[in-house]
């Protein structure tokens, strides 16, 4: 293959949109870990529920209205489910060993998968793009799907909102404080239990949103949740467990690695991600942006 600058540009943009999807998912995963110290394996299931909800909503409400409604309502339903899961199950295991926490969320994958099978069946589902986002956009003489830029925009907006929330609000201060020192926040009289519930609701909302956003670009299948979770997990580890900006950086790297990997060695594109993860864990186990002290667990 010839070295071709415009090809590189095309792959760069496609890698960027993939990165933003990965960031949307990874942000929820890393938020939960950073504040609560739990790795939520079922995060991919929330993403999958979001995508299937988007399918149902766009079926019910056709046209552009359906899509925008899906974008708003699907994550909301998902985060209600998330809240229930936290209150009923997760809060019982915060003080247990990590292995048991992983197994509980692992068990949830099986349950959600079958629940989706019961409700939506095993057929592949397709979500249509609204007309306003279905077109193409010409940039430096290349045509790109408008939806690429929509995804990038949503990703950047979420990153900005998270930044504002964490740095500029009292709630964000509390979150950062509990990530550093949970007991102290508890002793100061704050309701850490309620805080955890809220964080989990936020994280699953992000998971649902990423599912709704990606729905028009893929065929929905029962495997989509577990396909993405491993990738998101690696993004989080590469960036630094519990670090939002690490997740963004990890996602940007993973997106580009995939986009260029598929250009040059299409069969082994995914392999680079795993090699990256192994290299990072060996040489910088706390991730690119993680602090040494955060390498707990």
């Amino acid at each position: 293959m010839d070295f071709d600058a415009s090809m590189l540009f095309i792959q760069f943009i496609s890698g960027l949109s993939r990165a933003m999807i990965l960031f949307l998912i990874a942000s929820g995963l890393t938020l939960v870990f950073g504040v609560m110290g739990v790795v939520n394996f079922a995060h991919g299931s929330f993403y999958m529920i979001g995508a299937y909800m988007a399918f149902t909503l766009t079926q019910g409400l056709t046209g552009s209205v359906g899509f925008w409604a899906a974008l708003l309502i699907a994550p909301t339903i998902v985060c209600i489910i998330g809240g229930l899961v936290e209150v009923i199950l997760l809060r019982r295991i915060y003080d247990k060993e990590h292995l048991l926490q992983i197994l509980l969320t692992y068990a949830l994958i099986f349950i959600f998968n079958d629940a989706i099978k019961m409700i939506w069946g095993v057929d592949l589902r397709i979500v249509d793009l609204p007309e306003s986002l279905a077109g193409f956009l010409t940039l430096f003489g290349h045509r790109f799907p408008v939806y690429y830029f929509f995804i990038i925009g949503v990703g950047l907006a979420v990153a900005l909102l998270l930044w504002l929330l964490l740095k500029k609000t009292r709630f964000g201060k509390l979150l950062r404080a509990s990530a550093e020192h949970r007991q102290m926040v508890d002793l100061l009289g704050y309701n850490v239990g309620g805080l955890f519930t809220l964080v989990f609701i936020m994280a699953t909302w992000l998971g649902g949103l990423s599912g709704a956003v990606i729905a028009p670009t893929v065929r929905l299948s029962l495997g989509m949740g577990i396909e993405i979770i491993i990738e998101a997990f690696i993004v989080v580890i590469v960036g630094g467990l519990g670090n939002i900006w690490g997740a963004l950086l990890g996602a940007l790297i993973a997106g580009q690695i995939y986009a260029f990997g598929i250009l040059y060695v299409p069969n082994y594109a995914m392999a680079f991600l795993f090699i990256l993860a192994a290299v990072i864990i060996i040489f910088r186990p706390y991730g690119l942006l993680g602090k040494q002290a955060q390498a707990r667990g």
Partner: protein, 325 residues
Amino acid sequence: MRQGGQNRSARWLYGAMAGVALIVLPFVLEKGFSEYYLYLAIKIMVWALFAMSFNLVLGYGGMMSFGHAAFLGIGGYTCSLLLVKTSCSLALAFAVAPFAAAAAGAIIGYFSVRIKGVFYFATITLSFAQLVFILAFKWRSFTFGDDGIQGIPVPALISTDETYINYYFFALIIVAISVYLLWKIVKSPFGLMLRSLRENPERATFIGMKVQNYRLIAFVISAFFSGIAGVLYAFLETAISPDILFWSMSGEVILMGLLGGMHIFLGPALGAAIMVLLNSFITSYTEYWGMVLGIILILIVLFFPKGIGGVMFEQSQKWMRKKGV
């Protein structure tokens, strides 16, 4: 457990009873039920061996490997590829496979055992295993890709075309020897050191133990026996595909350990039996096996975190104390 005399002879008695039961079982299953149950019995043995090999790393070594499917798969693939692509004899192919798995274990273990932290250890082992999976999936000319290998030439003596009986005894002998060796390893000074490492790595280091060496050896041994399980698995199905290397297989073996109890020697074997039987019975009633499994796992995590084997062990200890034994 160390009062000798009475306990020792009791253990021999139980062992002999279990042995007789395992020898009689296939005939009962074949006459009383059907070949399918014989197949299930073999499947349980294979998974039990895999789960117990794995538990050397998880239960005894305290390392949460999320990549053990790699060793199961490398064992199975090595033997199958040797049989299909070369004129290698069965004995040689079978003998080489576990060493291939152990070699992979040495490489993956070399990089992994120094990693601290459950999630990092899980991710690095997972990453290596997924690399093996991708290789098997995409390297068509070498591994036949996602088609896998169908119709592995299993010799007539242990062929499963007519009946599973011969293969049952073949698998039983291999599994029994492997489990015996694993038991010896667990009870050896090495096994004891390994457990002390799991309980208190700092103290073990202070008294001069080379932590990483012990962990690496455990990892390699575990990979070796996982490789044997992989060969038995491939022969049972007479086929192998990249599915055997996928991370969900690594997940399944972890679940077996938890279900049965990972701090009891036979716990993972019990977990394997429960999983295989439940899977077969539940899937014959409903397609929602995952729902049932998920609920069972949640109940285990919340109420019996030591696993079913752990609960049974505690109860039997209580009962024995009551009887004044």
